[in-house]
């Protein structure tokens, strides 16, 4: 359970980081004079937390077949959109059709960025394991 909580927290921090980056970028580009208050940061924490909730679907089963995994990924994306659209609107992150489209695109970009970041972390982890395995195998060959 601790491992799952760690994974959840890691994803949460990554989503929050990318959300803040997107905020800074869009504020700089579209309204450089705008300022954000404490409420905005709190809202983004809630937003990132909620965005992470659908990923809990992956811990319902330790071992999934390719098909189950695909279904879970589809459900996760649908849940994310269903949760984030009304919440984003409530927090004033989007309004109107144009705002809706931009918000949707940013959400998709952040989703992929989070996936890519976690994939990179996994790749580093795999390299670390391989190096350790080489050390062990090397030790045996020496014997």
């Amino acid at each position: 359970m601790i491992k799952e909580i760690k994974e959840f927290f890691k994803r949460f921090v990554t989503i929050y980081g990318y959300s803040m980056l997107a905020t800074v970028f869009f504020l700089e580009v579209f309204s450089p004079e705008a300022q954000v208050g404490k409420d905005f940061f709190v809202n983004m924490i809630i937003f990132s937390f909620v965005a992470n909730i659908p990923s809990l679907i992956f811990i319902i089963k330790k071992e999934m077949t390719d098909q189950e995994l695909m279904y879970c990924q589809i459900i996760c994306i649908v849940l994310e959109i269903l949760l984030l659209l009304p919440l984003g609107h409530h927090f004033g992150l989007w309004a109107g059709v144009a705002g809706f489209i931009v918000f949707l695109i940013i959400t998709v970009i952040i989703t992929f960025a989070v996936r890519f970041t976690l994939y990179s972390a996994d790749a580093a982890s795999a390299r670390q394991m391989l190096e350790r395995l080489k050390e062990i195998t090397g030790e045996d060959e020496d014997e």
Binding site: E7, K62, E63, L69, Q73, L118, A123, A126, Q128, I136
Partner: protein
Amino acid sequence: MKIFIKKISTNEEEEILVKTHDTNAPWVEYIKQVDRSQAYIIGYKNERMHQIELKDVLYFESVDGKTFLYTLKDVYSCKNKLYELDNLPLFFRASKAMVVNSKKIKTIKPSLSGRFEIVLKNEEKIMVNRHYVAILKEKLGL
């Protein structure tokens, strides 16, 4: 004679150090037997018993409640249960039905689905859930 038993972490390799005046003493032979029993496993094929070195085992797999062990050349049936085998040093649970020899791993790479793909030295590919990868990391002391 004094006997020292020290509890160690799972990262460290288990070992027995024997300090003796006579290396041929019966009790030393007995300890050697313990070591041999850990390095070998009994596999059955064509109603014959085979003593297989653990270092030659690629993985153990449970199919319909029976355990099979796979080497580069052969497949044997085995009387041990998977839960007994994943306690072997450097063997780790790769799925509900599989215990893999980590020394037989050729490559590990992540997949976009969030799982890891492990390629064994016989080029066989296994998809491993993150939960089990965490267990492998622990076994490797990472």
